[in-house]
Symmetry: C2
Subunit: 331 residues, 2 copies
Amino acid sequence: MDQFATKPHDALAGALRGELEEVNSLIREKMVSEHAPRIPEVTAHLIEAGGKRLRPMLTLAAARLCGYTGGYHVHLAATVEFIHTATLLHDDVVDESEQRRGRPTANLLWDNQSSVLVGDYLFARAFELMVEPGNLRVLKILASASATIAEGEVLQLSVARNIATSEETYLKVIRGKTAALFSAATEAGAVLSDAPEDQVKALRDYGDALGIAFQMADDLLDYQGDSGQTGKNVGDDFRERKLTLPVIRAIAGADEDERAFWHRTIGRGKQEDGDLETALSLLAKHAALESTRDSAYAWADKARASLEVLPESDLRNVLADLASYVVSRLN
Amino acid sequence: MDQFATKPHDALAGALRGELEEVNSLIREKMVSEHAPRIPEVTAHLIEAGGKRLRPMLTLAAARLCGYTGGYHVHLAATVEFIHTATLLHDDVVDESEQRRGRPTANLLWDNQSSVLVGDYLFARAFELMVEPGNLRVLKILASASATIAEGEVLQLSVARNIATSEETYLKVIRGKTAALFSAATEAGAVLSDAPEDQVKALRDYGDALGIAFQMADDLLDYQGDSGQTGKNVGDDFRERKLTLPVIRAIAGADEDERAFWHRTIGRGKQEDGDLETALSLLAKHAALESTRDSAYAWADKARASLEVLPESDLRNVLADLASYVVSRLN
C-alpha cells in the first residue's frame, strides 16, 4: 500500500520517541529478577524480539491526546506491554506453538513450565507497575481487562472446533484476545489524564474498534494471504480447526453437503489433501472473505469516527491513519 | 497429637465463622463467568474440594486482631484464596501432577490449556477484588507477593535436580512457594486496619515464619511419613528429585561415595530399587531429619514470638497454637 508514505505505526513511534525510550528502559529494569535469572532470559527473548510496542504506544498517545503532563503514562505503557507479553507466553503453551515473531517460542527453547511461570511473573510485575501511579480507576480498568483476556481465551478453548459457533461468540473471543487490551490501553491513558468522560469513552471505543478490526484482518489474511507480511501460511487456522469469521459466515450459508464438509474437517479434524482448496472455494462461493473484509472496514471506520470528539491534532490523525492501516493490508 | 483438644485450624474457623461464610459467598460470586462456563467448573473443582481456607483465615484474623471494623477484609481474604488457587492450577501443570487434595487434578480432568487459562482468570479476578478496598499499600503488598511467588517457582525450576543447591536457595524457594502468600495475607489484614507499624511488622513476620515452618514440616514429612495425614507417599520428593532441606543437609555432610549416590539418583535421575532405603539411611546417618525438625521448630517459635507485640486475646492465642500445630505433626 502506498496510501501511507510513512506507516502510521512508524509515525506514532516517531511522535512518541522519547517516552517510548523510557518505556523500554522501565521494561528492562522491571524484568530483572535477582533470584531467578531465567526470568529475564525468557522475557528478553520475547520482548527484545522486535515486537512493535503497539499497545504501549496506544497508552502514551491517549495520555498525550488528553493533555497529560505527568510521567506515569510510561508505567502504564510498560504495564500493558507486560500483560501482553505474559499472555503471549501462555498462549504459546496453550496453542503448542513453535514460532512467534519468526523465532522459536519460549516453550520450545526452554519448556512449558518456564513459559507458564515467567508469564505469571510478568503478570504480577504488571500489577506492581500499575499500582505506582496510585490511580484506582486505572487499576480497575487494567485488572478488568486482564480478566476479560483470560475469559476470552477460555471461551475460545471451549468453542474450539465447534462449527455451531456464532458471530456473537466470535466477537466475544476476539474482544478478549485482542480488543480488551487495546481498549484498556487507550482508556487507561485517558483516565490517568483526568480527561472528560466523553474523551475517555472516545478512546476506549477507539481501542475496542481498532482491536476488532485488527483481529478480523488477521483472521481474513490467514485465508487470503498478504504476500508474506504476516509470516503465516495460508490455511493455518483451517488446519488448526479455528472458527474464525470467514468460516463462520461460510457455514452460515452452507447447504447439507457443505455442512458435512465443515463438520468433517473442522469439527472432527479429519482433513485430507485438497480440503484447504475446497474450503477456499466455499469461502469464495459464499463471499465470506469479502464480507469479512467489509466488517473489518466497518470497525476501522468506527475506530476513526470515535476519535472525532477529541481536539484535532497531528497525533489524532496518526491514530486515525492507524485504523485505516490495519485494514489496508486487506486490499 | 492430643496436645490440641481442638485443632487450632478448627478453632480459627470457629472464631471467624461469620466472616468466612462471607468469603465463601464472595468466592462463589466472583468465580462465575458469563461468557466461559468452563471457568466456574474448573474453579469449583478446586475451591469446593475441601481446601482448608487457611490463607484467607489469616487475613481475617490479622484484621480482627488489629481492630478492623470494616468489611473489606472479606475481599482481601477472597483475593488471597484466588491467588492461591491460581498458583495451584499452574503448579499442577508445571509438575504434571495427577492428584490434588485426593482428587484428580484439573489438568487431568480437563487439560493443561484450561488450567493455564483459568489460573490466569483467577489471578486477574484476584486483582479486581483487591482493588475494591481502595488501599494502595495493600495493593502493593499483594502484587509484590504475587511476583515473589512466581519468582520462587521459577527459581525452583532452575535449581531442580541440582545437588549443589544451598540452604539459602532453598529458603528463597520456600519463601516464594509458601511463605510469601502467608505473610502477605497477614500483613494485608494489618495494613487494611491502619494498624501501628510494629503490629504490621509483627503480623508480616508471623506469616513469613509460619509459612517457612509449614513448608519445612511438609518437606520433612515427605521422608518421615505422618501416618497418612498428608496423603503423600514416603519418598515422593526423592522420586521427583527435589532438593529439599533434609537432602541438602545430608549432601552437605556427604563423603565421596554418598555424593556419587546423590548425583546419580537426584542429579541424573538414575534410580534403582533400594535407592530410597539408601537415601533414608543417609538422612539418618547425617541426622538430617532431626536437624530439619529443629529448624522447623525454630521457625514456629519465631512465628509465636512475633505475635507478642499484639495485645493478648483468644484469637492471638489461636494463631500461636497454629504455629505449634504445623510442626506438631513432626513428633
